[in-house]
Amino acid sequence: MRERIANPFTPQDKNIAVNDRFGNSGIKKQQGSSVLKYDTLPLDGRTTLNFFEGAAARNFPFSNCGSDGNKLGVGNTLVVERLYLTLLTIDDGLLSKADDISAAPDGTLEMGELNLSIANTTVLKNFPVLSTVPYFNYSSGTIREVVYELDTNIVIPPLLEYVMQLRLPAYNVPDYGFLYLRLTIEGSGSLIAPRTTF
């Protein structure tokens, strides 16, 4: 008979515990929230895409990292619980269409591998993109869902650089001429909520 694991240790607990270890004990007093970060890069022939690196230079609708770039601001944290990739089409300078990666011209994206590093330490290593495809994604509830739920929640504390690197095999650039790839990471988190005057 299948087990269900009931664990009272929540993502919020982990968020507070990890931040406490960094001496960031005020995180429990900030505003709890759902935090989602995305970054978008062109499929222009590069076989290594460093999502979030240099994201401060990209604005809406390419990234929502703002001037913080690939660091969370003071009092902000994120527990990476889920991730997904989106294929975006540029039409007349506007991002016009959003699809999952099965809409790509070939299987290059599914053959890729993701690595997440925080402060120069790898915390997710050689994760195959294929595991997000609905056929092979244990956490997808429908044949269309490409959101992958990680087994272990990964905490991104404030002010530490994070980069998610996607490694791809070689592909035919003309086939991907107008396509961009977006990576989204999401989960519980906190937003700065000052309780005093400055």
């Binding site: 087990e3 070939d106 294929l130 244990y138 429908t142």
Partner: protein, 200 residues
């Protein structure tokens, strides 16, 4: 009403417990992560696929085990919570990979699912003659939708560091070879990766 067991013994607890028995007490201080390993072998008419054996010879995108091959590195460990098989094909004309698919509908024949799956760890069999049909969506009790081929195991198996592991997929004799077509096994679950807390 269907019953289910609840437990508060997590995969992380099992990793720490098993590694403690091997004297590997430092595992709880490493970086918790989601660990996914895969290996890819050609559909060349063989009747037994021995995934991960010799995988240090295979590079991206055929395997992600790196130079460790079929052993996890020091400070690394994983729970095999799930596994799936996929078929990947290379288009030699355009020099690109095609979209991977499940075995069923891939063109190599769903007869590849009429098979037996096994797992060996440090010369011990820890999963024995498990029917491969259990992966196929129609017979997969853990599938969430009609096309899902990920099988979640009843018991989570732990791979400690530095021990050799091999997954076997035995099919009937005489199945045809198919050029530029590969079978990929992926195993995934909770794990740990080395996180040194000192400078080298």
């Amino acid at each position: 009403m269907r019953e289910f067991n609840t437990t508060n013994f997590t995969p992380q607890d099992k990793i720490v417990g098993v590694n403690n028995r091997f004297g590997n007490t430092g595992i709880k201080n490493q970086q918790g992560s989601t660990v996914v390993l895969y290996d890819t072998l050609p559909v060349d008419g063989r009747n037994e696929f021995r995934f991960f054996e010799g995988s240090s010879q295979r590079n991206f995108p055929f395997s992600n085990t790196g130079s460790d091959g079929n052993k996890l590195g020091v400070g690394s460990s994983m729970i095999i919570a799930r596994a799936y098989l996929s078929v990947v094909q290379f288009n030699t004309e355009d020099q690109v990979w095609l979209h991977p698919t499940p075995i069923d509908g891939s063109g190599i024949g769903d007869i590849y699912n009429v098979s037996e799956f096994g797992f060996e760890l440090a010369n011990s069999t820890i999963l024995k003659q498990y029917a491969g049909l259990d992966f196929q969506a129609e017979f997969n009790k853990t599938a969430n939708h009609e096309n899902q081929v990920v099988l979640q195991w009843d018991t989570q198996l732990n791979i400690p560091p530095l021990l050799e592991f091999v997954a076997t997929w035995r099919v009937q004799n005489g199945l045809p070879a198919k050029a530029n077509t590969y079978l990929r096994l992926t195993i995934e679950g909770t794990g740990a990766i080395i996180a040194p807390r000192t400078t080298f």
